[in-house]
Amino acid sequence: MKHLDEYRDAGLCRRLSAEIDRVAGGREITLMEVCGTHTMAVFRYGLKDLLPENINLLSGPGCPVCVTPNEYLDRAVAYCRQEETWVVTFGDMLRVPGSRSSLIRERGAGGRVRLVYSPADALELARQMPGQQVVFLGIGFETTSPLAAAVLADARRDKVRNFFVLAGNKVLPPALRALVDDRQLGLQGLICPGHVSAVTGADIYRFLARDHGIACVISGFEPADILQSILMLVSQIVEERPRVENQYRRVVPDEGNPRARELLEEVFQPRESSWRGLGTIPDSGLTIRQAYREHDAESALPVKIAPPVEPSGCICGLILRGRRRPVDCALFAGACTPEHPVGACMVSSEGTCAAQYRYRRHETI
Protein backbone atom coordinates (compact mmCIF):
# COMPACT_ATOMS: atom_id res chain seq x y z
CA MET A 1 0.00 0.00 0.00
CA LYS A 2 1.27 3.42 -0.91
CA HIS A 3 2.02 5.95 1.84
CA LEU A 4 1.80 3.43 4.68
CA ASP A 5 4.97 4.91 6.18
CA GLU A 6 3.32 8.29 6.48
CA TYR A 7 0.51 6.87 8.63
CA ARG A 8 3.20 5.43 10.94
CA ASP A 9 5.60 8.38 10.99
CA ALA A 10 7.00 8.77 14.51
CA GLY A 11 7.43 12.54 14.19
CA LEU A 12 3.82 12.93 13.11
CA CYS A 13 2.60 10.77 16.00
CA ARG A 14 4.59 12.89 18.50
CA ARG A 15 3.19 16.05 16.92
CA LEU A 16 -0.40 14.74 17.18
CA SER A 17 0.21 13.74 20.76
CA ALA A 18 1.54 17.23 21.63
CA GLU A 19 -1.53 18.75 20.01
CA ILE A 20 -3.83 16.43 22.02
CA ASP A 21 -2.04 17.59 25.18
CA ARG A 22 -2.41 21.27 24.21
CA VAL A 23 -6.11 21.03 23.30
CA ALA A 24 -7.02 18.94 26.37
CA GLY A 25 -5.38 21.59 28.57
CA GLY A 26 -5.01 19.22 31.53
CA ARG A 27 -8.67 18.11 31.57
CA GLU A 28 -9.34 14.52 32.65
CA ILE A 29 -10.90 12.82 29.61
CA THR A 30 -12.08 9.20 29.34
CA LEU A 31 -12.26 7.60 25.89
CA MET A 32 -12.92 4.05 24.73
CA GLU A 33 -12.12 2.04 21.62
CA VAL A 34 -14.48 -0.82 20.80
CA CYS A 35 -12.66 -2.67 18.04
CA GLY A 36 -10.19 -5.51 18.47
CA THR A 37 -8.08 -4.17 15.60
CA HIS A 38 -7.83 -0.81 17.40
CA THR A 39 -6.93 -2.62 20.65
CA MET A 40 -4.07 -4.36 18.85
CA ALA A 41 -2.79 -1.12 17.30
CA VAL A 42 -2.98 0.78 20.61
CA PHE A 43 -0.76 -1.81 22.32
CA ARG A 44 1.48 -2.60 19.35
CA TYR A 45 2.46 1.03 18.78
CA GLY A 46 2.45 1.97 22.48
CA LEU A 47 -0.11 4.71 21.89
CA LYS A 48 -1.10 4.91 25.58
CA ASP A 49 2.49 5.99 26.32
CA LEU A 50 2.18 8.76 23.74
CA LEU A 51 -0.93 10.23 25.35
CA PRO A 52 -0.82 12.75 28.20
CA GLU A 53 -1.67 11.24 31.59
CA ASN A 54 -5.01 13.00 31.78
CA ILE A 55 -6.31 11.11 28.73
CA ASN A 56 -7.67 7.75 29.90
CA LEU A 57 -8.04 5.35 26.96
CA LEU A 58 -10.09 2.22 27.72
CA SER A 59 -10.50 -0.93 25.64
CA GLY A 60 -14.10 -2.11 25.28
CA PRO A 61 -15.95 -5.20 24.06
CA GLY A 62 -14.65 -4.96 20.49
CA CYS A 63 -13.52 -8.52 19.95
CA PRO A 64 -16.39 -10.73 18.75
CA VAL A 65 -14.56 -13.88 19.88
CA CYS A 66 -14.09 -12.47 23.39
CA VAL A 67 -17.74 -11.53 23.91
CA THR A 68 -19.04 -14.91 22.69
CA PRO A 69 -20.46 -16.72 25.72
CA ASN A 70 -19.41 -20.23 26.79
CA GLU A 71 -22.76 -21.69 25.86
CA TYR A 72 -22.06 -21.00 22.18
CA LEU A 73 -18.64 -22.68 22.35
CA ASP A 74 -20.13 -25.65 24.21
CA ARG A 75 -22.58 -26.10 21.35
CA ALA A 76 -19.78 -25.96 18.75
CA VAL A 77 -17.84 -28.57 20.75
CA ALA A 78 -20.93 -30.80 20.86
CA TYR A 79 -21.31 -30.58 17.05
CA CYS A 80 -17.73 -31.58 16.30
CA ARG A 81 -18.20 -34.72 18.44
CA GLN A 82 -21.16 -35.85 16.33
CA GLU A 83 -20.78 -38.38 13.54
CA GLU A 84 -20.43 -36.89 10.05
CA THR A 85 -20.51 -33.31 11.34
CA TRP A 86 -17.74 -30.79 10.71
CA VAL A 87 -17.30 -27.52 12.58
CA VAL A 88 -15.77 -24.92 10.27
CA THR A 89 -14.48 -21.64 11.68
CA PHE A 90 -12.09 -18.71 11.56
CA GLY A 91 -8.81 -19.46 13.36
CA ASP A 92 -9.55 -17.11 16.30
CA MET A 93 -12.22 -19.47 17.67
CA LEU A 94 -10.03 -22.57 17.81
CA ARG A 95 -8.39 -22.04 21.20
CA VAL A 96 -11.18 -20.28 23.07
CA PRO A 97 -12.02 -22.36 26.13
CA GLY A 98 -15.69 -23.27 26.52
CA SER A 99 -17.08 -24.62 29.79
CA ARG A 100 -15.28 -27.96 29.59
CA SER A 101 -13.28 -28.10 26.36
CA SER A 102 -12.13 -26.12 23.34
CA LEU A 103 -12.24 -26.86 19.62
CA ILE A 104 -8.46 -27.34 19.48
CA ARG A 105 -8.65 -29.95 22.24
CA GLU A 106 -11.49 -31.70 20.46
CA ARG A 107 -9.55 -31.71 17.21
CA GLY A 108 -6.61 -33.33 18.99
CA ALA A 109 -9.00 -36.00 20.26
CA GLY A 110 -10.37 -36.72 16.79
CA GLY A 111 -13.13 -34.08 16.61
CA ARG A 112 -13.95 -32.79 13.14
CA VAL A 113 -12.82 -29.14 13.09
CA ARG A 114 -11.60 -27.21 10.03
CA LEU A 115 -10.22 -23.68 9.75
CA VAL A 116 -11.11 -21.35 6.89
CA TYR A 117 -10.06 -17.89 5.75
CA SER A 118 -13.49 -17.01 4.34
CA PRO A 119 -17.11 -18.13 4.85
CA ALA A 120 -17.03 -18.87 1.09
CA ASP A 121 -14.44 -21.61 1.83
CA ALA A 122 -16.86 -23.15 4.36
CA LEU A 123 -19.62 -23.36 1.76
CA GLU A 124 -17.15 -24.85 -0.70
CA LEU A 125 -16.29 -27.58 1.84
CA ALA A 126 -19.97 -28.44 2.12
CA ARG A 127 -20.21 -28.74 -1.68
CA GLN A 128 -17.20 -31.08 -1.68
CA MET A 129 -18.53 -33.30 1.13
CA PRO A 130 -22.22 -33.86 0.33
CA GLY A 131 -22.48 -36.77 2.78
CA GLN A 132 -21.26 -34.67 5.73
CA GLN A 133 -22.93 -31.86 7.69
CA VAL A 134 -20.87 -28.66 7.65
CA VAL A 135 -21.54 -26.14 10.45
CA PHE A 136 -19.94 -22.72 9.99
CA LEU A 137 -19.52 -20.71 13.20
CA GLY A 138 -21.23 -17.37 12.57
CA ILE A 139 -19.24 -15.07 14.83
CA GLY A 140 -18.74 -11.39 14.21
CA PHE A 141 -20.15 -7.89 14.15
CA GLU A 142 -21.62 -5.90 11.25
CA THR A 143 -18.32 -6.23 9.32
CA THR A 144 -18.44 -10.02 9.17
CA SER A 145 -22.15 -10.85 9.31
CA PRO A 146 -22.95 -9.80 5.70
CA LEU A 147 -20.45 -12.46 4.60
CA ALA A 148 -22.39 -15.15 6.48
CA ALA A 149 -25.56 -13.76 4.89
CA ALA A 150 -23.96 -14.03 1.44
CA VAL A 151 -23.01 -17.69 1.82
CA LEU A 152 -26.42 -18.54 3.33
CA ALA A 153 -28.06 -16.94 0.28
CA ASP A 154 -25.77 -18.96 -2.03
CA ALA A 155 -26.44 -22.18 -0.10
CA ARG A 156 -30.21 -21.68 -0.41
CA ARG A 157 -29.98 -20.77 -4.12
CA ASP A 158 -27.79 -23.80 -4.94
CA LYS A 159 -29.64 -26.13 -2.53
CA VAL A 160 -26.51 -27.03 -0.57
CA ARG A 161 -28.59 -28.82 2.07
CA ASN A 162 -25.64 -29.97 4.20
CA PHE A 163 -24.48 -26.41 4.95
CA PHE A 164 -25.45 -24.76 8.23
CA VAL A 165 -24.57 -21.62 10.16
CA LEU A 166 -24.59 -21.46 13.97
CA ALA A 167 -25.58 -17.81 14.36
CA GLY A 168 -23.66 -16.11 17.17
CA ASN A 169 -23.51 -12.84 15.21
CA LYS A 170 -23.86 -9.60 17.14
CA VAL A 171 -24.65 -5.95 16.43
CA LEU A 172 -22.86 -3.10 18.17
CA PRO A 173 -25.35 -0.27 18.92
CA PRO A 174 -27.25 -1.96 21.80
CA ALA A 175 -23.90 -2.88 23.44
CA LEU A 176 -22.67 0.71 23.02
CA ARG A 177 -25.86 1.91 24.72
CA ALA A 178 -25.15 -0.43 27.67
CA LEU A 179 -21.61 0.98 27.96
CA VAL A 180 -22.61 4.65 27.96
CA ASP A 181 -25.35 3.88 30.51
CA ASP A 182 -22.64 2.60 32.85
CA ARG A 183 -22.05 5.80 34.81
CA GLN A 184 -19.12 4.33 36.67
CA LEU A 185 -17.10 4.41 33.43
CA GLY A 186 -17.78 8.12 32.84
CA LEU A 187 -17.24 7.67 29.13
CA GLN A 188 -16.97 10.94 27.16
CA GLY A 189 -15.81 9.83 23.74
CA LEU A 190 -15.82 6.78 21.52
CA ILE A 191 -13.27 5.75 18.89
CA CYS A 192 -15.74 4.11 16.50
CA PRO A 193 -14.71 0.91 14.67
CA GLY A 194 -13.71 1.68 11.07
CA HIS A 195 -14.64 -1.57 9.41
CA VAL A 196 -17.97 -2.00 11.21
CA SER A 197 -18.70 1.52 9.97
CA ALA A 198 -17.68 0.55 6.41
CA VAL A 199 -20.90 -1.52 6.43
CA THR A 200 -23.19 0.42 8.81
CA GLY A 201 -22.21 3.98 7.93
CA ALA A 202 -22.13 6.83 10.44
CA ASP A 203 -25.81 6.90 11.44
CA ILE A 204 -25.63 4.10 14.03
CA TYR A 205 -23.60 6.38 16.34
CA ARG A 206 -25.86 9.44 16.12
CA PHE A 207 -27.95 8.49 19.19
CA LEU A 208 -24.77 8.44 21.28
CA ALA A 209 -23.93 12.05 20.46
CA ARG A 210 -27.53 13.31 20.47
CA ASP A 211 -29.01 11.49 23.50
CA HIS A 212 -25.94 10.75 25.60
CA GLY A 213 -23.55 13.61 24.78
CA ILE A 214 -20.82 11.17 23.69
CA ALA A 215 -18.22 12.41 21.19
CA CYS A 216 -17.84 9.92 18.31
CA VAL A 217 -15.12 9.62 15.66
CA ILE A 218 -14.94 6.80 13.09
CA SER A 219 -11.26 5.91 12.94
CA GLY A 220 -8.75 4.19 10.69
CA PHE A 221 -6.24 1.71 12.09
CA GLU A 222 -2.78 3.20 11.60
CA PRO A 223 -1.18 4.96 14.60
CA ALA A 224 -1.57 8.43 13.08
CA ASP A 225 -5.23 7.65 12.26
CA ILE A 226 -5.95 6.71 15.86
CA LEU A 227 -4.10 9.73 17.32
CA GLN A 228 -5.85 12.08 14.92
CA SER A 229 -9.19 10.56 15.94
CA ILE A 230 -8.31 11.11 19.61
CA LEU A 231 -7.44 14.73 18.81
CA MET A 232 -10.83 15.17 17.09
CA LEU A 233 -12.59 13.60 20.11
CA VAL A 234 -10.73 15.79 22.60
CA SER A 235 -11.62 18.89 20.55
CA GLN A 236 -15.32 17.92 20.53
CA ILE A 237 -15.25 17.36 24.30
CA VAL A 238 -13.43 20.63 25.06
CA GLU A 239 -15.80 22.58 22.78
CA GLU A 240 -18.76 20.73 24.37
CA ARG A 241 -20.06 19.88 20.89
CA PRO A 242 -20.48 16.09 20.79
CA ARG A 243 -21.19 14.80 17.29
CA VAL A 244 -20.25 12.04 14.85
CA GLU A 245 -17.14 12.73 12.76
CA ASN A 246 -15.40 10.49 10.28
CA GLN A 247 -11.58 10.38 10.27
CA TYR A 248 -11.54 7.26 8.02
CA ARG A 249 -13.16 8.85 4.96
CA ARG A 250 -10.81 7.05 2.59
CA VAL A 251 -12.67 3.81 3.38
CA VAL A 252 -15.96 4.76 5.07
CA PRO A 253 -18.56 6.76 3.15
CA ASP A 254 -21.16 8.24 5.53
CA GLU A 255 -23.82 5.88 4.15
CA GLY A 256 -21.69 2.75 4.69
CA ASN A 257 -22.44 -0.16 2.35
CA PRO A 258 -26.20 -0.35 1.61
CA ARG A 259 -25.82 -3.53 -0.48
CA ALA A 260 -24.18 -5.42 2.36
CA ARG A 261 -26.84 -4.18 4.81
CA GLU A 262 -29.65 -5.20 2.45
CA LEU A 263 -28.42 -8.79 2.26
CA LEU A 264 -27.81 -8.84 6.02
CA GLU A 265 -31.43 -7.83 6.64
CA GLU A 266 -32.73 -10.29 4.05
CA VAL A 267 -31.12 -13.25 5.84
CA PHE A 268 -30.93 -12.25 9.52
CA GLN A 269 -33.24 -10.64 12.06
CA PRO A 270 -32.46 -9.13 15.48
CA ARG A 271 -32.84 -11.10 18.69
CA GLU A 272 -31.77 -10.90 22.32
CA SER A 273 -28.17 -11.96 22.76
CA SER A 274 -25.82 -12.77 25.59
CA TRP A 275 -22.42 -11.00 25.76
CA ARG A 276 -19.57 -12.10 27.96
CA GLY A 277 -19.11 -9.18 30.36
CA LEU A 278 -22.23 -7.26 29.42
CA GLY A 279 -24.91 -9.88 30.04
CA THR A 280 -28.06 -10.30 27.97
CA ILE A 281 -28.96 -7.32 25.78
CA PRO A 282 -32.21 -7.02 23.78
CA ASP A 283 -31.84 -6.91 19.97
CA SER A 284 -28.04 -7.15 20.18
CA GLY A 285 -27.74 -10.43 18.28
CA LEU A 286 -28.84 -11.89 14.97
CA THR A 287 -30.81 -15.01 14.19
CA ILE A 288 -31.48 -16.59 10.79
CA ARG A 289 -34.85 -15.75 9.24
CA GLN A 290 -37.53 -18.37 8.60
CA ALA A 291 -36.87 -18.53 4.84
CA TYR A 292 -33.32 -19.74 5.53
CA ARG A 293 -34.16 -21.99 8.51
CA GLU A 294 -33.09 -25.22 6.83
CA HIS A 295 -29.52 -23.85 7.06
CA ASP A 296 -29.88 -22.68 10.67
CA ALA A 297 -27.85 -25.08 12.84
CA GLU A 298 -29.77 -24.07 15.96
CA SER A 299 -33.13 -25.32 14.64
CA ALA A 300 -32.00 -27.88 12.02
CA LEU A 301 -29.38 -29.67 14.15
CA PRO A 302 -30.62 -29.83 17.74
CA VAL A 303 -27.98 -30.87 20.27
CA LYS A 304 -27.99 -31.27 24.04
CA ILE A 305 -25.43 -29.33 26.07
CA ALA A 306 -24.79 -29.19 29.82
CA PRO A 307 -25.33 -25.83 31.61
CA PRO A 308 -22.34 -23.52 30.89
CA VAL A 309 -19.67 -22.91 33.55
CA GLU A 310 -17.42 -19.83 33.83
CA PRO A 311 -13.75 -20.19 34.92
CA SER A 312 -13.15 -19.06 38.52
CA GLY A 313 -10.94 -16.05 39.18
CA CYS A 314 -11.16 -14.77 35.58
CA ILE A 315 -12.22 -11.12 35.27
CA CYS A 316 -12.66 -11.05 31.46
CA GLY A 317 -16.20 -9.77 31.99
CA LEU A 318 -15.00 -6.65 33.84
CA ILE A 319 -12.14 -6.11 31.37
CA LEU A 320 -14.59 -6.22 28.44
CA ARG A 321 -16.64 -3.49 30.13
CA GLY A 322 -13.58 -1.29 30.59
CA ARG A 323 -13.97 -1.56 34.40
CA ARG A 324 -10.66 -3.35 35.00
CA ARG A 325 -7.32 -3.67 33.21
CA PRO A 326 -5.53 -6.96 32.45
CA VAL A 327 -2.91 -6.21 35.14
CA ASP A 328 -5.72 -6.06 37.71
CA CYS A 329 -6.38 -9.78 37.18
CA ALA A 330 -4.65 -12.22 39.55
CA LEU A 331 -4.39 -14.78 36.73
CA PHE A 332 -2.79 -12.41 34.16
CA ALA A 333 0.61 -13.63 32.88
CA GLY A 334 0.67 -16.31 35.58
CA ALA A 335 -2.08 -18.91 35.39
CA CYS A 336 -3.41 -17.26 32.22
CA THR A 337 -1.10 -16.86 29.21
CA PRO A 338 -1.66 -17.08 25.43
CA GLU A 339 -0.24 -20.64 25.54
CA HIS A 340 -2.61 -21.68 28.36
CA PRO A 341 -5.46 -19.17 28.31
CA VAL A 342 -8.12 -19.20 31.00
CA GLY A 343 -10.34 -16.43 29.65
CA ALA A 344 -11.35 -15.36 26.16
CA CYS A 345 -9.52 -11.99 26.36
CA MET A 346 -6.22 -13.90 26.46
CA VAL A 347 -7.08 -16.26 23.61
CA SER A 348 -8.00 -14.06 20.72
CA SER A 349 -5.01 -12.07 19.48
CA GLU A 350 -7.39 -9.09 19.52
CA GLY A 351 -8.28 -9.57 23.17
CA THR A 352 -7.12 -6.85 25.56
CA CYS A 353 -5.20 -9.33 27.74
CA ALA A 354 -3.45 -10.95 24.75
CA ALA A 355 -2.49 -7.55 23.31
CA GLN A 356 -1.10 -6.38 26.65
CA TYR A 357 0.72 -9.70 27.20
CA ARG A 358 2.31 -9.63 23.78
CA TYR A 359 3.49 -6.03 23.71
CA ARG A 360 3.47 -4.64 27.26
CA ARG A 361 3.59 -7.57 29.65
CA HIS A 362 5.79 -6.01 32.28
CA GLU A 363 4.15 -2.63 32.47
CA THR A 364 1.51 -1.56 34.92
CA ILE A 365 0.05 1.12 32.68
Binding site: M1, H3, E6, Y7, D9, G11, L12, R15, L16, A18, E19, C35, G36, T37, C63, P64, V65, F90, D92, Y117, S118, P119, A120, D121, I139, G140, F141, T143, T144, P146, L147, A150, P193, H195, V196, A198, V199, G220, A224, D225, Q228, Q247, R249, R250, V251, V252, P253, N257, R259, A260, L263, S348, E350
Partner: protein, 76 residues
Amino acid sequence: MCLSVPMRVTEIDGDQGRADIGGVSRNVDLRFLEDVGIGDYIIVHAGFALQKLDPREAEETLALFREMLEIDETSR
Protein backbone atom coordinates in the same frame (compact mmCIF):
# COMPACT_ATOMS: atom_id res chain seq x y z
CA MET B 1 -11.76 -10.13 13.67
CA CYS B 2 -12.82 -7.14 11.61
CA LEU B 3 -9.31 -6.95 10.18
CA SER B 4 -9.57 -5.88 6.55
CA VAL B 5 -6.77 -5.18 4.10
CA PRO B 6 -6.45 -2.96 1.06
CA MET B 7 -5.83 -4.98 -2.12
CA ARG B 8 -5.63 -4.06 -5.81
CA VAL B 9 -8.15 -5.61 -8.21
CA THR B 10 -6.47 -7.59 -11.02
CA GLU B 11 -9.35 -9.63 -12.53
CA ILE B 12 -13.15 -9.31 -12.62
CA ASP B 13 -15.63 -11.96 -13.70
CA GLY B 14 -19.21 -11.02 -12.80
CA ASP B 15 -19.36 -10.51 -9.04
CA GLN B 16 -16.18 -12.52 -8.46
CA GLY B 17 -12.62 -11.36 -9.00
CA ARG B 18 -9.00 -11.56 -7.97
CA ALA B 19 -6.97 -8.99 -6.11
CA ASP B 20 -3.40 -8.78 -4.89
CA ILE B 21 -1.36 -7.28 -2.10
CA GLY B 22 2.42 -7.40 -2.00
CA GLY B 23 2.57 -10.17 -4.61
CA VAL B 24 -0.06 -12.36 -2.90
CA SER B 25 -3.13 -12.95 -5.04
CA ARG B 26 -6.55 -14.06 -3.77
CA ASN B 27 -10.10 -14.68 -4.98
CA VAL B 28 -12.39 -11.90 -3.86
CA ASP B 29 -16.18 -11.76 -3.80
CA LEU B 30 -17.19 -8.37 -5.21
CA ARG B 31 -20.99 -8.58 -4.79
CA PHE B 32 -21.16 -5.79 -2.20
CA LEU B 33 -19.55 -3.18 -4.48
CA GLU B 34 -21.56 -1.16 -6.96
CA ASP B 35 -18.94 -0.45 -9.55
CA VAL B 36 -15.38 -1.60 -9.42
CA GLY B 37 -12.67 -1.70 -12.07
CA ILE B 38 -9.31 -3.32 -12.64
CA GLY B 39 -6.65 -1.35 -10.75
CA ASP B 40 -9.03 -0.08 -8.04
CA TYR B 41 -7.96 -0.50 -4.43
CA ILE B 42 -10.57 -2.35 -2.39
CA ILE B 43 -10.87 -3.16 1.32
CA VAL B 44 -11.08 -6.94 1.69
CA HIS B 45 -12.45 -8.73 4.75
CA ALA B 46 -12.31 -12.57 4.84
CA GLY B 47 -12.53 -12.89 1.06
CA PHE B 48 -15.21 -10.25 0.46
CA ALA B 49 -14.69 -6.65 -0.69
CA LEU B 50 -16.50 -4.28 1.70
CA GLN B 51 -15.57 -0.92 0.17
CA LYS B 52 -13.50 0.75 -2.50
CA LEU B 53 -10.65 2.87 -1.18
CA ASP B 54 -11.18 6.51 -2.18
CA PRO B 55 -7.78 7.85 -3.37
CA ARG B 56 -8.92 11.49 -3.11
CA GLU B 57 -9.96 11.13 0.52
CA ALA B 58 -6.73 9.24 1.28
CA GLU B 59 -4.75 12.12 -0.21
CA GLU B 60 -6.69 14.65 1.89
CA THR B 61 -5.88 12.80 5.10
CA LEU B 62 -2.21 12.68 4.14
CA ALA B 63 -2.24 16.39 3.23
CA LEU B 64 -3.63 17.13 6.71
CA PHE B 65 -0.85 15.06 8.28
CA ARG B 66 1.84 16.85 6.24
CA GLU B 67 0.40 20.21 7.19
CA MET B 68 0.56 19.22 10.84
CA LEU B 69 4.25 18.33 10.52
CA GLU B 70 5.02 21.61 8.77
CA ILE B 71 3.38 23.64 11.55
CA ASP B 72 5.61 21.78 13.97
CA GLU B 73 8.78 22.55 12.00
CA THR B 74 8.03 26.26 11.56
CA SER B 75 7.10 26.74 15.23
CA ARG B 76 10.40 25.38 16.50
